[in-house]
Amino acid sequence: MIIRLGEAFLRTLGKPLVKFLYSLGDLTAFVVKAIYHCFVPPFYFKLFFKQVLDIGFYSLPVVGLTTLFAGMVIALQTYSGFSGFKAESVIASVVLISVTRELAPVLSALMVAGRIGAAMAAEIGTMRVTEQIDALVTLSTNPFKYLVAPRLWAGLLVLPLLVLVGDIIGIFGGYVVGVYKLGFNPANYITATFQDLQYIGIISGLVKAAVFGFIISMMGCYHGYKSKGGAQGVGNATTNAVVSSSILILIFNYLITEMFFSR
C-alpha cells in the first residue's frame, strides 16, 4: 500500500521534474551558446545601436518617473518614521542609500523587464513562428549573432546608464520632498547628501543594473526563441519572459547585495 502510494507519488512528481530538468538544461545550453556568439564576429553594430535606443532612450521616461516617486516616498516615509525629527542628514542619507543601492536598480529593471523583455520575446517569438528565424539561417546569417547578441550587449551596457540617471532623479525626488514639503534647508540637504556619498553603494547599484539588463535580454530572447504554436505561443513567451526575468532580478538582487555588503 505504502509502496504503491510512493510509486504514484513519484510518478506524479516524476513528469514535471523531468520536464523541469529538461528545460533547465535547455536554458543552460541557450545561455552558453548566446554568450559564445556575443564574442565571435560578425558583429551587427547597427542592430546593437537600435537596441540601445529602444532599451535606453525610450525607457528614460518610465525609469525617470519610477525613481522620482520612489525617492519622494522614501523621504516622506523616513520623516514620518522618525516622527518629525528634523534631521536633514538622516533623511538625505536614507534616500541616498535606498535609491542608489536598491530602488533605482531594482525598480528600473522591473520596469524595463515589463517594457523591453516583453517586446523582445514578442518580436523574436513572432519571427520564430513565422519562420523568419529559419529564413535567417537559410540566408547564411546566424540568428544568435543577428538577434540575440545585440540585445544582450545592449541590455548589459545600457541598464547601468539608465540606473545612473535613475539615481540622480531619485535623489532629486527626495530633495524635492525634503525642501518643499518638509521645509529643510536646501544647502544643508545637499551637503548632507554629498557627505554620505559612497562609491560602493553606487557601484553595487550599477553592477546590479548590468546583471539585470543581461537577465532581461536573455529571458526575452530565450522565451521568444523557443516559442511555438502561433499567436498563443508568442503570448505565453511574452508572459514567461516578464515573469522569469522579474523573479531572477529579485533573486540576483539579493545575491549581489550579499556579495557586496556581507562580511
Binding site: T130, E131, Q132, D134, V137
Partner: protein, 255 residues
Amino acid sequence: MEKEIKIRIRDLHKSFGKKNVLNGVNLDLYKGESLVVIGGSGTGKSVLIKCIQGLLTPDSGSIEIDDIEIVNENPDVIDRMHSKMGMLFQGGALFDSLTVWENVAFDLIQNRGFNKKEAKIVAVKVLRQVGLTEDIADLYPSELSGGMQKRVGLARAVITRPEIIFFDEPTTGLDPIMADVINDLIIESAKDLGATTLTITHDMASARKIADKIAMLYQGKIIWYGTVKDLDKTTNPYVRQFINGSSKGPIKVEK
C-alpha cells in the same frame, strides 16, 4: 550517360514525439533538374525541405549535397551549403522589420559585400522579374497583399543565383495568371541559371509545367517517382487519386 546527383537522400526518418512524419525517404535530385514533390496536406513535404536545409535534424538517415553529408554535420559545413541554396518559404517568412528591397537584398548586403546602393539596384531588378514594380521597394512586407509577399519571397530566394533553389508552394495564393508568371520564373531559374530546383506544390497545372521529375510523398515515403509523361500513364491508385483530386480512393483523409 549518368547524370550528376546534386542531392541524395537515403532512408530519412523524422518524427515529432510519437508522430512519424518521414519514414524512410529515398530521393535523388539530379543536377539542373526540376523536381516537384506532391502529396497531401501534412504529409511532411515542408519537413523534408527543412531537413535538407539543416533547419530540422533528422532522426536517422543521410542527406548528401554535392556528395557532402550534412546530417549531424557541424554548422560551418551547413553554412557553406546555405550560400549555394535559396529558399522560398511556404508562408513567405519575410523579415517584417525590413523594407521589401532590404528583404530581397539581405544576403547581398550581409554576406556578399554589396553596398546599399548597388544592392537596391539589383533588388529592384529582381522584383521586376517577379512582376512587382519599383514603388513597392520601400514598403514594409505587412503593407503588401499575400500574393505580393510570396513574390517578394521568391525574389529573395533567387537573387543570389543559387545552385539549388527550394520552392515551398510558390503558386498557392496567387491568381492563375500570376501563378503562371511564377511558373515561368521557376523554369527560367532552372534552365538559365542551371539551377537545381525542388518545388512543393498542390497545384497540378504548375507541377506539370515546371517538373522534369515528379515524386509523390505519402505516409512518410516516396511512393511514386517519374516524369510528367509517366504521371499520365501511371496506374498507381494513390497518384491517380491525387491528380484527379478525388476523395474516393486508397488515400484516407483523417477527419
